[in-house]
Subunit: 220 residues, 2 copies
DNA sequence: CCGCATCCGTTTCGATACTG
DNA sequence: CAGTATCGAAACGGATGCGG
């Protein structure tokens, strides 16, 4: 049964925590921030969450107008969960948490989802005004993403770009390592952990731009 | 016994929530954001939190380097809890939550602390670039605060200003109402809910500036 | 296989009472 | 004032089962 407890404060901070302060709630929002996901996608992304926990959180978030459930077109006997407009407004909260959390110690056995890495990469690039303009096609697992950097505006979308300057195929682990240490790019390519095509120098410069912010966040 | 569970993710968002995602943790940070507080101050500010809950959270936050316990000078047989530098870095998280939470429904029986109102007032003024420059002395309960607005820089401090343009003595409830509807200022003064001295017109303009942001936040 | 509902042991929460 | 002790209630976490 969904959780209903409240801090019973009129403070907006407490009200926000009443809505998304339950355990797992903000991680569900995080996973849905870049792309709608099915129940089983969320399970894979949040292996520590039990099924009934996920069901409860999704129901609560739906009841609060943060998440919406949408049926897929008839042939697919499934549905996806996606953020509502109100849910997307949580992005600044997620971004602030990511910036702060980068300074906390990481469990060395921790998992890492594609969404996590992409959000952190995006945040790092946004934090660096000198980020070069470039459109990158990112293939992580079986999903294709577009990373667009243009005049300091950084966007990540779950689709293939019309025209990519560079293409990289890798996994979240490797991409995360590259965000902190772009110097590993050649080693990752040699090991087969990453395949790169197109403007390799541009991609390298983009990663360097992210690394500047990423390292300063982690160091604080 | 303090909580030790973790999401076991290397995602910075999950790491942040590992540190401050437990129930009540961020409300403790909120209360300490503007001024160090004693245990009993926190109890009053968070009446829904049981004493052992507060003890647990304070110990955890202390262990994580977010809160520090400081003994007061000898005559006072007491100590205060205050944020560390790392703890103060949570301010953007708190601000983002406040901005989002203003759009959530408020329980009509909810309490409201001075800190809550001051943080929201500060956030509203910061969100409005047209905020007039003014120094206000704010007396809430038995505490004196300084609200300084200068060239768009808004600061709230727990002390008396060197020189105030205006002085207002009221309670958190009334101040919160004024942030949304400055038109009530005269009524509040007539009812004795607020006493104002000095540049009343300036204070009124400042409240109007806050109200513009406050209403747009609540309306979204 | 997907999306849940049910059951159950464990942890955390919340309220009250009590102590240095 | 600043906590500890205790205990029932709620939430969490994992396993299993069941209808599409």
């Amino acid at each position: 049964m969904p959780t209903t407890r409240s801090y019973r404060e009129r403070c907006p901070i407490a009200r926000a925590l009443d809505a998304v302060g339950e355990r797992w709630a903000l991680l569900v929002v995080r996973e849905l921030l870049l792309v709608p996901q099915r129940f089983s996608d969320l399970r894979r992304a949040l292996p520590g969450a039990s099924t009934n926990m996920l069901t409860d959180r999704l129901r609560e978030l739906e009841a609060r107008g943060i998440v919406r459930r949408r049926a897929l077109r008839p042939p697919a006997a499934s549905s996806v969960y996606e953020l509502t407009g109100r849910g997307r407004e949580l992005e600044p909260v997620i971004d602030a948490l990511a910036a702060w959390g980068a300074g906390e110690p990481a469990p060395n056995d921790g998992s890492l989802t594609a969404t996590s890495v992409l959000l952190f990469l995006r945040g790092s690039l946004r934090a660096n005004p000198a980020t070069p303009s470039l459109t990158v096609e990112l293939a992580l697992g079986d999903r294709i993403w577009t990373l667009g950097a243009r005049d300091g505006e950084i966007e990540v979308a779950h689709d293939a770009p019309d025209a990519a300057d560079a293409t990289i195929r890798t996994d979240p682990e490797t991409l995360n390592a590259l965000v902190f240490d772009p110097g590993r790019l050649d080693a990752a390519r040699a090991e087969g952990a990453a395949q790169v095509e197109g403007d390799v120098a541009g991609l390298r410069a983009l990663l360097e731009s992210a690394a500047v912010s990423a390292r300063s966040l982690a160091g604080s």
